[in-house]
């Protein structure tokens, strides 16, 4: 297991190098003079020259890249022009809402997805199966941000049950936090629950075809015991991977959901940074989310290898 973990960690190094290089080149993709674009039309030649020197854009490209790498190794993501503070600090301040939203979304996705998939798979071809899978197909196709707007209209505007938007810290006021987070978490989790349900159903059908299930039935076990004691646990093994993948996908989904519900997380930070042309913040958010994405995928692979030892030898 230690060798497997080491191998996976080493495999991350070249990928991370590519990721950092792509993020570095983002600023060079700006059409024309990046500094003039960042500072806007009112900047004079001296200001542009100063900013260029400050950003290191007056150096040769390879030197800029090496400087970018070394700064990152020191944990320095640059300084936000607009917020006037280090990017790392700005990111740190906005992480909590995004993490809480992702956790809520994941909880909803698993809560709806796993039981739906297991029931649909256990009763393949039944009305339950058809109904749940039609819902799952819709769940895959309905755009999450649009669903959020409809939820806001129905539950907040029409019924007045929940707040329209905003955020309350779970550490300061848990009840308000729950009320604020319910709609965003359901909107975010609904799409992913459809994916989990489809995979869980597939796994359940696969497991129910195995010999040991036939043996369990042959020895006279009740169908309920066969499904929930024997098949369910084994069907869950690949679902664990899907849940991990879901978590990674939720990072992207959370960005959009935060805009709809006005949640002050990383998503709102990057969009406001784009509108203010605050490129160090854009680079910082993209880099941190990519790192989180890779880390989650690594954890999922390791957990899967731990649950199913056959994976380690592939």
């Amino acid at each position: 297991m230690a060798t497997y973990l080491l191998r996976r960690l080493l495999a991350l190094v070249p990928v991370m190098l590519v990721v950092v290089t792509i993020v570095f080149f983002l600023i060079h993709l700006i059409p024309g003079d990046p500094v003039a674009v960042i500072l806007g039309p009112e900047a004079n030649a001296q200001q542009i020259e100063d900013a260029r020197r400050e950003l290191g854009l007056d150096r040769p490209l390879h030197e800029q890249l090496v400087r970018f790498y070394t700064r990152l190794l020191r944990g320095d993501l640059g300084r936000s022009y607009f917020l006037d503070r280090p990017v790392t600090q700005a990111l740190w301040e906005r992480t909590e809402p995004t993490l809480v939203l992702m956790a809520g979304g994941l909880f909803v996705a698993v809560l709806i997805g796993v039981p739906s998939g297991i029931v649909a798979g256990a009763y393949q071809g039944s009305w339950w199966d058809r109904g749940l899978m039609t819902l799952a197909l819709l769940g895959v196709c309905v755009p999450g941000f649009w669903l959020s707007l409809n939820f806001i209209y129905l539950f907040s505007v029409r019924l007045g049950w929940l707040p329209v938007a905003g955020y309350a810290s779970v550490f300061q006021d848990p009840v308000a936090a729950l009320r604020h987070m319910l709609l965003p978490a359901v909107s975010l989790g609904f799409n992913q629950s459809a994916l989990i349900a489809r995979i869980a159903r597939s796994c359940m059908i696969e497991v129910l075809r195995q010999d040991y299930i036939r043996t369990a039935r042959a020895k006279g076990l009740a169908e309920r015991s066969v499904i929930y004691l024997h098949a369910f646990r084994n069907a869950l093994v690949p679902v664990v991977t899907v849940i991990g993948i879901t978590m990674a996908i939720l990072i992207g989904g959370a960005v959009v959901t935060e805009i709809v519900f006005n949640i002050p997380g990383l998503g709102r930070l990057i969009i406001s940074a784009i509108l203010r042309r605050d490129y160090p913040v854009v680079q910082g958010v993209v880099l941190v989310t990519a790192a989180a994405y890779m880390l989650i995928n690594l954890v999922v692979d390791v957990v899967y290898a731990f649950i199913d030892p056959r994976i380690r030898y592939v």
Binding site: V18, L26, L137, W146, L149, E206, I271, I274, V282, Y293
Partner: protein
Amino acid sequence: MAVADRAVVLAEAPAAAGERTKWARRLLRNRNVVIGGSVFLLLVLVALFANALSPYNPTRLYPGQRLKPPGLQNLLGTDEFGRDIASLVLHGSRVSLLVGCVTMVLTSLGGVVIGLIAGYYRRLDIVIMRVMDGLMAFPAILLAIALMAARGPGVWNVILSLSVVYLPRTAMLIRSTALSVRELDYVLAAQALGRSGFGIAFRHILPNCIGPLLVQGTFIFAYAVLAEAILGFLGVGVPPYVPSWGNVIASGKNVIREAFWVSLFPGLALTLSGLSLNLLGDGLRDVLDPRLRVQ
């Protein structure tokens, strides 16, 4: 052409036609292909004839008609600037389908070239695949947002960004197919006959990738349509004055209390396009690549 060669070609022609009819019949027997394909075709026709079908000019503002609910004059109501929602939805389909179609074509072309080179030339494989891994390491929508932040709003920038985001998926698919096909006897025979690597990759390996490529292309079309709408909604996609489903939903967000219909109808159109493309993709996969069939 020698007489014998011509005879082979003449004998192969009816066989190829028969094969095509067989595939067409199999496709038409698949319910998902028929339903998804029909709805998608309808959307394409709507996009093509949007000018003729639209009751109003979608970019013209009618301040006196702002936020009218659905009715006889404006079938789907009006937005905060008095623009007709039905006309906006009809014209919005053009941007969505253009972005989806061109992204699909670009990712397919790029994916085929990169995937075949990586799959056939083992020395280049390591470098190419690390770059692809790097691109796949970003959450898709975040990379698209970052690229749009650098390039600025615009339809072609959206297409370019989404093509970069989705290219690795197609490249990896083609690579994996190429890797399995390159070890087959007929490819080894072609190598023994002295054919060039380039010729083998494109003439002998590529035809085996067409099925998976079609399936993947359909899903990428669906992702691109949705991603375009998300970028528009976030205000970093096509410029706000261009009628697109994402832009109309974004403007509906500001008036959700007074006029739910502004965001409702473009969202329904978006859902319908996603549904049709997903059904079509599922159906094509079942027919063309049964190994991947979801039970």
